[in-house]
């Protein structure tokens, strides 16, 4: 948000800090800069002398908790005696916490903040970093993010055109309900397919593309005798579902095409909805992707599947010995999240008989996202080669999101397979998920900035990054056992929730959705959500 950004870049100083700045400017900061020592994933501390430990001027203690270095006279006092120092030397109000390099106002007895000080800390950190790391780390932070995904004009055109087509359709049947709501017949354990299809059929800008016939039998180059096209078949389902006809539709042709595409998944048994989802997007990409220039630098593949669902993940691997960080970017069409296993209530922990796979566990989506972006210490059996150290080292790894897609698909890994025990199980915990989701804390700039102690530096963009706010529009839930469960999709249209259980479409209260056992959650950028729902 705009207010948040400006607040971050310009925190209000206390009167003592303001006064100090007037009198001494940046000289104090400059003088201690040489002593700053940064630790990757840790504190930046002040090391004045290699051989001696700093002691408090008044009590000679060095283990009395925090030690503070006066910015004017460089004398050291412990937390008990900072007040004494400022009383004995007039104007010596501002000090620095030696262990954490944080400004401290002795009169306010509080930690204070100054962007100028942070800049000194950060530039010293950059100076000390192994050379090549410098560029990749400041990449996201210093330069303006120009790659922010905007609703391009093509998407806008699709929206308008499809809305027109939809409004022209037959309105005989049940016109009070939004068009596009239509049950899908279960063809024999195909609820995994129906549930994902319902989500795709209501993914903003995805269904509009197909309904506007931007991919159709005439334009499709793959449609010759016996050649199947998942994109064409999806287009057919799209037209059928938005036709105004309310009797349940049988997506038989689509199943047939899909089994040809995904031979290894083709069998009459319950499949995993998430695998189906990935496989369908891949199939549509294959039919579409070759018509466009793939791997263009301005955003990769331009097929409809990737334009709507594809984002970019960033992975930073840091050598724990020297701090050298290697950054790689990978595109992704969804994010698979592990459920945070540490989230037990105190009652569960106390009774030792409760194991994690009992129904008592619960978690939240934000906790899973936190887990996804948490720095992870790679095991000693996973030592990676560090270019700077020229040998294999223990490393830390951290994921973050470089670019968000238009439609964010989150997959909750509820199915666990243990190769050790040769068994699989389903995690039945309840997962709380928000209807409105702000992804800002999981974006690369936030994550990397956090790694550097949340220091204020770089060009903070004044414009609010509205493309990080998302609204849920579809939830695929799974109930029952691992092999014999049932998938159901909840759709949110015009602020009303509908339950799509194969052929049955019913209205439900939002509380049912909140309490449901989610497996895949589909969010769309708020801007697009509002546009799609205005009527």
């Amino acid at each position: 948000m705009a207010t948040r950004n400006s607040f971050f870049a310009n925190p209000k100083p206390c009167e003592h800090l303001a006064d100090y700045k007037l009198r001494h400017g940046l000289s104090g900061y400059k003088s201690i800069q040489k002593w700053l020592k940064a630790n990757p994933y840790g504190n930046t501390s002040i090391k004045m002398c290699e051989t001696k430990i700093p002691r408090c001027l008044f009590c000679s203690g060095y283990h009395q908790g925090r030690l503070f270095l006066c910015l004017i006279c460089s004398s050291v006092s412990c937390s008990d005696h900072t007040l004494l120092h400022t009383q004995s030397e007039y104007g010596h109000d501002i000090a620095v916490d030696i262990e954490r390099s944080e400004l401290y106002c002795c009169l306010c007895s509080d930690q204070v903040y100054d962007p100028d000080f942070d800049k000194f800390v950060v530039s010293k950190t950059f100076m000390d970093m192994p050379s090549k790391t410098h560029d990749s780390v400041i990449d996201d932070l210093m330069r303006r993010s120009s790659k922010r995904r905007r609703l391009n004009s093509v998407v806008d055109l699709d929206l308008k055109r499809s809305k027109l087509l939809v409004s022209m359709r037959d309105r005989r049947a049940k016109s009070c309900y939004p068009l596009g709501l239509r049950g899908l017949n279960n063809l024999g354990s195909t609820c995994f397919m129906n549930s994902v299809l319902q989500a795709l059929l209501h993914a903003p800008s995805f269904w509009n593309y197909f309904l506007s016939e931007r991919h159709g039998p005439e334009t499709c180059k793959k449609r010759s005798s016996d050649q199947l096209c998942l994109a064409c078949d999806f287009g057919v389902i799209c037209s059928a579902v938005y036709s105004g006809n309310r009797t349940p539709y049988s997506p038989a042709q689509f199943l047939y095409s899909w089994w040809h595409h995904s031979a290894n998944l083709a069998s009459y048994e319950q499949q995993d909805a998430h695998e189906f989802f990935i496989s369908v997007l891949d199939g549509i990409h294959e039919r579409e992707g070759k018509d466009w220039n793939s791997n263009k630098d301005d955003g990769g593949c331009q097929c409809i599947a990737h334009r709507v669902f594809s984002g970019m993940l960033r992975s930073d691997v840091t050598c724990t010995a020297c701090g050298f960080t290697s950054t790689t970017y990978d595109p992704c069409v969804d994010i698979s999240l592990n459920m945070d296993t540490t989230n037990f209530s105190s009652v569960d922990v106390a009774s030792k008989s409760v194991r994690p796979n009992e129904d008592t566990g619960r978690s939240t989506l934000l906790a899973c996202l936190d887990l996804f972006t948490r720095p992870e210490r790679l095991g000693s059996d996973q030592k990676l080669y560090c270019q700077n150290c020229q040998e294999r080292r223990d490393s830390m790894k951290q994921m973050s999101i470089k670019r968000l897609p238009l439609v964010l698909s989150l997959h909750i890994k509820r199915f666990e397979h243990s190769s050790l025990r040769r068994s699989s199980r389903k995690i039945d915990w309840f997962l709380q998920f928000p209807f409105s989701l702000d992804m800002t804390p999981y974006l690369s700039p936030s994550i990397v900035r956090n790694r550097f102690g949340n220091r204020i530096f770089g060009f903070e963009s004044d414009e609010s990054d509205i493309s990080s706010e998302f609204e849920v529009f579809a939830v695929v839930t799974h109930s029952g056992m691992l092999d014999s469960g049932h998938y159901v999709t909840y759709l949110r249209l015009q602020d009303q929730w509908y339950k799509c259980d194969d052929a049955w479409i019913t209205e439900v209260d939002e509380r049912i959705v909140r309490a449901a056992q989610c497996y895949m959650i589909f969010y769309v950028q708020k801007m697009l959500y509002c546009k799609a729902n205005e009527d």
Binding site: F7, H63, G65, R100, Q111, K132, T133, D135, K174, L181, G183, N185, L187, G188, T190, T247, S250, A252, Y256, W259, H261, A263, N264, A266, Y268, D272, E275, S279, D282, S315, V317, S326, T328, Y329, D330, C332, V333, D334, E376, L384, Y385, C386, Q387, H417, Q432, P434, S436, D438, G453, N454, I456, D483, D501, D502, W504, I505, T506, R511, R514, A515
Partner: protein, 178 residues
């Protein structure tokens, strides 16, 4: 954790206890300092919105668990929103695109499996269309390069808790010197 009685401790124990206390204090201050910075600079998440979502969710669970909601959780539908009812097994009939025979929708998948010659119990059918279909099986894995970390191995998803890093070495080839 019980706090040891200071009087009964040997100097050695006292000292170790003292150091432990200091280490803990230091960690606590670390966390406090970080949170203080985050809060003062306004970096903390929209905690009101988050709490509202949590509250709504908790409320929803309570409502849904109540006995009056059993009709919803039962799963038995009377009519859908369009006033229609549907049988357990979908009874629409259409022609199979592989063999041409009319099939009941609810039994289409098992039929197609045998018809296309897939599955354990199916016999291989020597019709023109299924042979042509079988020639297309030699396609590679359906998981494209665009989902590198999604491990598709059948119906069971592997959950090893870590993202498999796709590079084995540190490499920063994409960045240029300023």
């Amino acid at each position: 954790m019980s706090v040891p009685n200071e009087d009964n401790m040997s100097p050695h124990t006292q000292l170790s206890s003292h150091f432990l206390g200091e280490l803990l204090d230091s960690i606590i201050v670390d966390v406090a300092s970080e949170c203080h910075r985050i809060a003062k600079l306004g970096l903390d998440r929209n905690s009101e919105e988050e709490e509202e979502e949590l509250r709504l969710s908790a409320q929803a669970r309570v409502t849904v668990a109540a006995p009056s909601h059993s009709c919803e959780t039962n799963g038995k539908y009377v009519v859908d929103i369009f006033g229609q009812t549907h049988p357990t097994v979908a009874n629409e009939v259409f022609d199979c695109m592989n063999c041409g025979r009319p099939i009941v929708a609810g039994r289409f998948a098992p039929h197609l499996e045998k018809c296309m010659g897939k599955g354990r119990k199916a016999r291989v059918k020597a019709t023109r269309s299924s042979t042509a279909a079988q020639n297309r099986y030699s396609r590679g894995s359906p998981v494209s390069a665009y989902s590198p970390y999604s491990n598709s191995t059948g119906t069971h998803k592997l959950s090893n808790g870590t993202y498999n890093h796709t590079v084995e070495e540190y490499s920063n080839g994409t960045c240029e010197e300023p």
